[in-house]
């Protein structure tokens, strides 16, 4: 049974679209990347799953239960980190975390200590006095302190410096090894690429593409750049499998997926002065979905 089952989810805010038709599953133990440009509907999907908002149509099940009807029950096993964290300003970080822990029927004090040590957070400080990055750490601890079996992250790494981002990612991998399923929403493809096993791309309220990262890595995507002694005709590159073509006088670059032999034959006919063929990153492959 999938941990998350989103079925034809639709949400309209009055007449404006939140999401049109979102459909995906997440299996137990997966780290699932949810990517798309701003305003595509990532947060709307997540907020519906968390029962903060009610769907216009469709449904979402978490742990096999309807996410609206059984929200409090589901929430026991869900940890959520929003993109921007806001807490009660006058509280101390430690008090906020203890308040958060008081909702779960278990003792979380040791875990609060461990996590705050890992992330280097001073629990005696008032929320108001914390920097944006430190507030984010409070958010991370708050999301993980009850050892949830599903972790939902909405643009989680904004505001963390590279070192903290690394610690945060290794924390997530630890949780994943412990058995936690993770939904990781982001518009930064490179971080999704770093951590996720499977990705779905959302655009204008619909899932437009879903792929395993392993398939993606194994597939023969090539990033090709050529320079020629003579001006290049874009029409020459009208070959099946070529995307993101950019030509500029004597140079051209594109992403290619398909038989390398076919590509080489095509390129061999050119009067090349330079060529580079490499592995593209996720961003380059999926860029055309964004446009």
């Amino acid at each position: 049974m999938p941990v998350v089952e989103v079925k034809h989810l639709k949400k309209y805010y009055g007449k404006s679209r939140g999401i049109e038709d979102v459909d995906f599953n997440i299996e137990a133990g997966e780290i699932f990347g949810f990517i798309g440009p701003n305003g595509a509907g990532k947060s709307t999907t997540i907020r519906t799953m968390l029962a903060l908002i009610h769907p216009t149509a469709g449904s979402a099940n978490i742990f096999g239960k309807d996410c609206q009807r059984y929200a409090p029950e589901i929430a026991r096993e869900v940890g959520y980190l929003p993109s921007e964290v806001f807490y009660y300003d006058t509280m101390r970080a430690g008090d906020l975390l203890r308040y958060s822990a008081s909702f779960y029927k278990k003792d979380c004090s040791r875990r609060i200590r461990e996590l705050s040590d890992t992330l280097d957070l001073d629990l005696s400080k008032k929320i108001d006095d914390l920097s944006f990055g430190n507030r984010k750490k409070v958010g991370i601890i708050q999301g993980l302190l009850h050892e949830p079996s599903l972790i939902i992250l909405d643009e989680p790494s904004i505001g963390l410096d590279p070192l903290m981002q690394q610690r945060f990612f290794s924390l997530l991998l630890q949780e994943n090894q412990r058995g936690a399923t993770i939904l990781f929403s982001s518009h930064i493809l490179s971080e999704v690429q770093k951590i996720c096993g499977r990705v779905a791309i959302i655009k204008e309220g619909r899932i437009i593409h879903e792929e395993k990262m392993s398939t993606f890595r194994e597939s023969s995507y090539k990033k090709v750049a050529v320079e020629s002694a003579t001006p290049l005709d874009p029409a020459y590159f009208q070959l099946e499998g070529i995307t993101s073509l950019e030509t500029n006088g004597r140079s051209a670059s594109f992403i290619y997926r398909g038989s390398v032999n076919v590509l080489m034959q095509r390129l061999a006919a050119l009067n090349l002065s330079n060529v580079s063929i490499g592995e593209p990153d996720l961003e380059e492959v999926f860029l055309h979905y964004y446009q």
Partner: protein, 265 residues
């Protein structure tokens, strides 16, 4: 229970401020009673100089300088006005603060039903109002004993004092139901002051033109002090109306909040 305790902690400071302000105002005005009482003749003459319409609007009458209870009937309306502002402010902010402070995402993704969130907050507010009135009534009665040279009807005095609690509950409920319906309330105080003073002005107007049908429109006229002094009781229809407003507002608030969308940060 944790939500209740959390809210009490969050409102500790503002509650103490309100309670002290209310108690200090009460003591200050009651302390002036002996002076008015001694100079009854002068005060009577002075009040007589005001137009009758004005006196009726503000509930000023000549015989209220005779006893501390009479003086209190004049005073209690203003204390209730201050109390109404406190209560509506509280009722409105308990839930709306989570949305304007963007903490609703935190609270409502915890394993707790929305009904329990609302219940915890409502109870916290009721505890705060109960505490406020406990202090107010104690301080008020004690001061009355000190400033009054003669004995007075303590039952009547308490009946008058409890007007404040009743008014607070009504405005607390109104504030609460508004906060569940409004999508987002940016600042609570202007809304509170506008509503409370709106009702207050209606009450001044209705007192001045002596239109009793307008009494049903404003909580400030649910408790007629002259009636209370004469009958040693509240008027049942208005008590029921007040209770009705409270029950309906709480009920509607619960239902609306369970179903509503929480706007994104």
């Amino acid at each position: 229970m944790n939500i209740l305790m959390h809210e009490l902690r969050m409102y500790r400071r503002s509650t103490l401020t309100w309670v002290m302000a209310l108690a200090a105002t009460t003591v200050f005005f009651l302390a002036m009673f002996p002076a008015f009482h001694r100079e009854t003749a002068v005060v009577t003459q002075l009040l007589g100089a005001f137009p009758q319409l004005f006196r009726e609007a503000f509930g000023v009458s000549v015989d209220m300088m005779v006893s501390v209870v009479g003086y209190y009937t004049f005073l209690i309306g203003y204390i209730a006005l201050v109390g109404a502002v406190q209560a509506m402010n509280l009722g409105t902010s308990l839930l709306s603060r989570e949305i304007s402070g963007k903490t609703a995402d935190f609270l409502l993704t915890k394993p707790v039903t929305r009904s329990r969130v609302v219940l915890g907050k409502l109870l916290a507010g009721l505890v705060i109002l109960a505490f406020t009135n406990l202090v107010f009534i104690t301080v008020s009665c004690a001061t009355a004993f000190i400033v009054s040279s003669e004995s007075f009807d303590i039952k009547l005095y308490l009946l008058l004092s409890f007007i404040v609690l009743f008014m607070q509950l009504i405005f607390y409920a109104i504030g609460f139901v508004i906060s569940t319906i409004a999508r987002r309330i940016k600042s609570v105080l202007p809304l509170t002051l506008g509503t409370v003073f709106g009702f207050y002005i209606i009450s001044l107007f209705s007192s001045a033109i002596k239109d009793d049908s307008l009494r049903y429109l404003t909580p400030f006229r649910f408790f007629d002090t002259a009636y209370i002094v004469n009958h040693a009781a509240y008027e049942l229809p208005f008590v029921l109306l007040g209770l009705g407003i409270i029950v309906v507002a709480f009920g509607v608030g619960f239902v609306v909040y369970r179903r509503r969308d929480i706007p994104a940060a």
